[in-house]
Amino acid sequence: MEKKAPKILVFSTEKISDPAIDLAGLLKLHYPPIVLTMEVPCSSAVKPKWILHAFDQGFDGVFIAADGTDCSYDESCTEKTGQIISQTHELMKEKGILPEKLKMAAICSVCAESFVKQMNVFADQLSEQ
């Protein structure tokens, strides 16, 4: 029987990474259709409880397409998003969820290829788990 494709939730950011994901579509760069995107104003606004809710609901992986150093709100964005990841990793361990199921990478507003690569690699990694 064919293994079910892993389902990935992406948190994208309104001004930076979401335009990159749009661009990937515009360029018809393909990534797995099981990647579903939700937009937030800034990657350092993602609550750990939303991420845990995604795992509870059956998502296999969560990816934060972070603003990185391009964040228009504050230069501490990367550090703050990193703290959210670390904190959530701890909560995931408590619930017996592998930390590898939550990833982040900075995706700039034109980083369409990088986003597609990240999604393809993440989907492959989740399939192997």
Partner: protein, 646 residues
């Protein structure tokens, strides 16, 4: 909060951009099964006038309490459909746009079946979000039609004139005692051949014609307590020690300058010369009266003995200004090479490009440096820019052109000088390429180095040699004797950038001011009402700086001219029952938008609505989960996640 019970859903075919890959009718059938969906339709073009009118009619006839349009990216049509909602009397924040084109049909055009399944989930999530959507009201605040322009360089002056023409009152605040910024330091400029001084004089004379521009020199913003529309700014004006209304007699001024016993390095000439504590950088400098540098003046009184117009008793003055918007135009500093970088400050005839430009201005018929007539000049490019290992990864844009133009000026002025350019590849873009050709035709030699093999500057007896492995001749090792080595230094952010802290204006990774979006909102910052332009935002030449300053001027004017500003309602809000005031949110907020207040006998956090930018950095740090963001509440986000996971 009560869920919406009467939702209209519209699925756009976008001609065939969506429907070629997504079975829109199947999407409609699936979402129509959701209880709260009263109307579900597919449409050829949701954005077409006829469809917009149909949606308005549906909302009004069926009393819809939320609508969802599944079409293209919200970046294109979010406002279109918000307006549709508003026209029908529905709050625009009860509208949700779902992107099934860029993030579905196009991205998965290779897998139409899965694309359809994904579209169904995305639309279901949009409906879930609409179900929890709240009618949000934009806060309206009054706005002063007053703009503070910080920095009276070429772009600051140009934007002040434009703003005054548009009807705003302008306060132009310059930290130095004279206007003109960097441009006043330069001689002939490409493409007009006008000198920097002449350009500044023209702008200054124009500036003085306006009754609605007030210029402060020797002045700095020292505090700001307000927000967009009503910035409360305090300006400190340092004393000039010259009485107002002084009529300058050049001969008398020179006698006073000669009498001043204080001699200091002249920063206007990049320390090539010295100056006195009472100074004027050049005769036609504006304002026309000289200034006394309070930092270096010893108050010996020698000048006062010679001139009645000097008053060493003047004190700092403070002015309070209420302004609707602020335009930062503070420019850049030239990169200062480290000691030993290409021999800088260790080998006596190694100088920077800005120093060379001043040297030409100060020289007569011959180019002489440290008493030696110059015959061979070597220019080393990209010093402090395009650094492989250093912090300045960016290209400073102006320096290739500036160097080549300077080398042409030198050729024309002195004839017997040879120019050797040691570059990493020349970037004279656009019509500036003509200069590159002219320099090549003048006989200038261009040698190119690799990042990992930069040129080496060394002493050779009494002379100086630049050695290079030349990329253009297959790595041939060449040595050039140079009487003058010029380090082509790039632009770096202002070293003294206190204004960024005072206005909370964000800086980018390169420490220049950061815009909201480099292409679509290039002169706005996330601080509403604080705009940026010119080289304070990143390296620019004069023409580019002026273009951005005009853009920022019109943006500032359009913001304040109506006398009223609407603030985005998607801001954070606090559950005061849950809040225990631990101050984590305050620490996370980059905009000081959180204050401590008393509520029901305990300390709690409160959002300062005019300061909150809706970034949401305070949300995840709250240990009590007492903060939500309007439009992104836990209810909305978790309902969407549940729908997507279905």
């Amino acid at each position: 909060m009560e869920e919406k019970r009467n939702i209209g859903v519209y699925i756009c075919q976008c001609g065939s951009n969506i429907s070629d890959y997504v079975d829109v009718e199947k999407v409609r059938e699936e979402v129509a099964k959701i209880n709260h969906v009263s109307i579900s339709k597919t449409t050829m073009f949701a954005c077409a006038d006829a469809t917009q009118n149909e949606i308005v009619q549906d909302i009004q006839e069926n009393n819809l309490d939320a609508i969802v349009v599944a079409s293209c990216s919200p970046k294109l049509h979010l406002d279109t459909f918000k307006n549709v909602a508003e026209r029908a009397g529905l709050n625009p924040y009860n509208y949700v746009q779902v992107n099934i084109r860029e993030q579905c049909s196009w991205a998965h055009s290779d897998k139409p079946v899965q694309a359809t399944e994904k579209a169904i989930q995305l639309v279901k999530a949009g409906i879930a979000r609409a179900g929890y959507s709240e009618a949000l009201i934009k806060t309206k605040i009054s706005a002063e039609n007053v703009v503070v322009v910080v920095g009276a360089g070429v772009s600051g002056m140009r934007s002040a004139i434009e703003l005054a023409d548009l009807g705003s009152y302008v306060y132009l605040i310059e930290r130095e005692y004279f206007v003109g910024g960097r441009v006043a330091q330069w001689g002939e400029l490409f493409t007009t051949n006008e000198t920097g001084k002449e350009t500044i004089r023209r702008l200054y004379n124009k500036l003085m014609e306006y009754k609605n521009i007030t210029l402060f020199t020797g002045a700095e913003i020292i505090s700001n307590t307000g927000t967009v529309g009503n910035f409360d700014i305090q300006v400190k004006i340092r004393p000039r020690y010259i009485k107002p209304g002084c009529k300058v007699d050049p001969e008398k001024l020179q006698k006073v300058i000669d009498a001043c016993p204080v001699e200091i390095p002249d920063v206007f000439n990049f320390n090539l010369t010295t100056c006195k504590a009472i100074y004027k950088n050049f005769e036609s400098e504006f304002p026309e009266i000289p200034a006394i540098d309070p930092e270096h003046c010893t108050r010996c009184g020698e000048c006062e003995k010679l001139c009645d117009d000097i008053d060493l008793g003047q004190k700092d003055e403070f002015v309070n200004i209420k302004a609707g918007a602020i335009l930062i135009n503070t420019g850049y500093d030239p990169y200062e090479p480290k000691t030993g970088e290409f021999g800088y400050k260790e080998i006596e005839n190694v100088i920077t490009l800005p120093q060379l430009k001043r040297l030409i201005e100060l020289s007569g018929k011959e180019l002489i440096y440290k008493n030696k007539k110059i015959h061979n000049i070597g220019y080393i490019y990209c010093v402090g820019s395009r650094q492989k290992d250093g912090e300045n990864k960016y290209c400073s844009r102006y320096c290739c052109t500036s160097t080549i133009y300077t080398s042409i000026v030198i050729k024309n002025k002195y004839k017997d000088i040879h120019n050797f350019h040691f570059d990493k590849s020349i970037r004279t873009y656009g019509k500036l390429e003509l200069l590159y050709r002219e320099a090549s035709e003048n006989g200038d030699i261009f040698l190119q180095f690799w990042d990992e093999d930069p040129p080496v500057v060394s002493r050779n007896g009494n002379g100086t040699v630049v050695s290079i492995k030349d990329m253009l001749s297959s790595g041939k090792e060449l040595e050039v004797d140079c009487d003058l080595v010029v380090l082509v230094t790039g632009m770096v952010p202002r070293q003294d950038n206190k204004i960024a802290d005072i206005l909370k204006a964000p800086l980018g990774r390169d420490k220049f001011f950061n815009e909201i979006h480099p292409k679509l909102r290039p002169v706005e910052t996330v601080i509403d009402g604080v705009l940026i332009s010119g080289a304070c935002q990143g390296p620019k030449n004069i023409s580019e700086s002026v273009k951005s300053s005009l853009s920022a001027a019109s943006k500032a004017n359009s913001l304040v001219k109506k006398g009223e500003i609407e603030l985005k309602p998607t801001i954070a809000f606090i559950d005061k029952n849950a809040c225990v005031w631990c101050d984590e949110c305050l620490k996370a907020c980059p905009f000081d938008a959180i204050i401590k207040v008393q509520s029901d006998g305990k300390d709690v956090a409160e959002i300062v609505e005019a300061k909150c930018k809706g970034g949401g950095m305070c949300l995840p740090v709250c240990p009590e989960n007492a903060i939500n963001l309007k439009g992104y509440t836990d209810n909305e986000m978790e309902a969407m996640i549940t729908a997507l996971a279905d």
